[in-house]
Amino acid sequence: MNNMSPEVALHRISPELRPLLCSVVRNGRVGLDATNFLRVTDLKTGCTTLTPGPCCDRFKLHIPYAGETLKWDIIFNARYPELPPDFIFGEDAEFIPEPSELPHLVRWDAGDPECLLQLVKELIQQYHHYQCQRLRDSSRLLFEYDSLLEEPSYGRNMEVYAGRKNSWTGEFSARFLLKLPVDFSNIPVYLLKGLGRGKGNEHGLTPRTPTHRTARVAESGLMSVCAPIINRIKDTTLDPGEDMALLSVSFEDAEATQVFPKLYLSPSIEHALGGTSALHIPAFPSGGCLIDYVPQVCQLLTNKVQYVIQGYHKRREYIAAFLSHFGMGVVEYDAEGFTKLTLLLMLKDFCFLVHVDLPLYFPRDQPTLTFQSVYHFTSSGQLYSQVQKAYPYSPRWDGNEMAKRAKAYFKSFIPQFQEGAFANGKL
């Protein structure tokens, strides 16, 4: 019974213990990695086999910690549900926490549904201390730990797992899991959404239900078409949890010659920052130490976030400028992520569509212009279109300037396009 859903576990456990387990499986998140829930497996009973169920009172709890999963046995007695549980700490046979440090054990209250969860949290804390104690076997790693501890922004959000010491070679390994103090709160909400449905576009963002807004293009002969406004449907079924970035650094030996860093981003952040490319971090410098490396990674991440935020604002500015310049000519645009814009324009009685795709790292990256004829079809039945990426552009222009230049470009380019459309497309 390994992959037991929480509901099954709750169904099988003795009724008196059910509230305690409920809070563990439903709300139980301990440690830094809040995306991994506490799991319950191997539900067994301590009563005789003749006892009618449900009477399970002992189980294994899987707790994510510092990149590992701790498997602890928790033993209750269904006949005496008021008694506190006993624990078997799996392979950590030497971990014996001091009971005085576990207030929820000393003053166990079976009537409080949160009691078990709180006790588990206290045990994890003690476990953390125990692991940090084990670091004392290696002076190098101890130095790493101490130096990080001095930095409150890192020290308070750190999990350490001092791995098994290889008794043959004397090898010692340790893993540090740090929550990076990067502020993700300014990331526009839109960027964080869009998980799990549809495919992401090249920017990694997935506008699932596009927002349409039309406006009449009021200026210089460009027509516009009205379109209704559809509000974006918020995604509420998945709760990705708190946005965070975790840095895991594994030391495979005590002398820090083999160090493997890894960055874990919560799915929404990863999505917002552009997918797996956002996870590239520099390698750990040999001879370097965490106290230098971690801020480096933090900075990198912060920069990325800033860039993304900036890009968002810039795109918004861009779209706003186009809206004001082309007014009624705007067919639709992405009102949340500001990544797309479609214009319906007419020049000398030739109507054409212009699709503008704004990249994630706009304004560094140039928007793509796709011209589309409204009359002509290609042989495959699509509207004849032409993509233009190389047009006069500079990232230093502001939105207004870009809109103006774009207009000028349209005027210069359209005759060419028109000819091409007539030549290659059929009506």
Binding site: K44, T45, C47, T48, T51, I75, I96, P97, P99
Partner: protein, 444 residues
Amino acid sequence: MAASISGYTFSSVCYHSANSNSDHEGFLLGEVRQEETVSISDTQISTAELLQVVEIHNHNPCAQLFSFYDYAGKVDEESLKRILKDRQKNVIGWYRFRRNTPQQMSFREQIIHKQLTQLLGVPDLVFLLFSFISTANSSTHALEYVLFRPNRSRYNQRITLTIPNLGNTSQQEYKVSSVPNTSLNYATVIKENGAEFFDKDGVMKDIRTIFQVYNALQDKLQAVCAEVEQSERIKEKIQEDVNEIKQQIDLRKRKTAEEEKKLWEAQHADLHQSSPEENTEQSRASLTSRIAFQTPAAPERPGISPNPPSYEDLMSHDRALLSTSSTPTRAALLPRPQAVGSPGHPSPASLVLGMGLGLGLGAGSGPTLPSVTPYLGNGDGSSSDSLDRQAAGQEDEEDEEDEDEDSSEYENLVSEAQLLPPLLAQGRPAALSPDGDVRGSQTS
């Protein structure tokens, strides 16, 4: 370290545990002793091994969980005393039973164990963990038990627990455990009914009886020994008397013979001029030739005389021989007749000599005498004369030696003599020798 638990204690613990509807715990009572084994092998002079043996005699179950400790796992000394009462000094460990859990000491158990070690003052307190595993459909149940000594290093914690006589006792010995019987009922019954089996000292009566029988036998044996000694002495005395009488007889015979001879010579001196009698010469020659054998040389076979002497002549000669040879003889100097093949036996020739001489004379030991053998020349070196043997047979019985070996061999000879026909026979004393050697008579 080794540990053992008596079968009834084990089953009692299992019974208590299996009948509880939750976890169960209790204390183990018993004793710890040290066994030292000294082994000597070819490679080492001696190696002494010290083994600590833990014996679990009894258990004291706790009525409920948390009966002597609180939620934090702190042991309450008062509750402990209340549970154990006066058996606290016998506590050597404690046990816990829990179903469907791993075979490891849990967090609380470890904390409690440390405190118990200190409070009870047992440095090597053991912990017995029972675990009950059932399959999902309740078809198979397993009771597992592991004995820990957690106060030792982490890698050496499990001890094998043996239950004596749990197994095939038809092939192994049924072991009696050293568990003292502390049952009051048993003590009462033994006290009441023990008088039939035990005497006032606590020793079983049968043992005393047997000892008495043994002592009586020993006394009897001692008495018989004394009697034997006496009879032997009497016999010896009689033997001496017999020898003396024999000597006297010989003396008388000799005198008689001499007188007769003188008479005969006197008579024949007159008749001698007419014709010499062959008999006389012959007899003389034969006598002379026989007398010539006095030297301690290898016995020579005399030539076969044309006229074999008659029995009477032989007898007379024999007597003559005896008389001549007996004078210098002493009973002590004669060799003891020994069968061929016995360890100390002389050469076959001397044996023959000895036989011939010893047959007629009394017992004695000593060097072989260079005396004449009454050979008849039958060519095989066997004893000279069955006649002699037989004739001397009666005397032989009186010549019995006290030594075992001689008497047995002598009896052999006697019996053989009795078996053989009176005529000269192919006596083969070698065949009857006690140690089975076949020699002597074949190597002449």
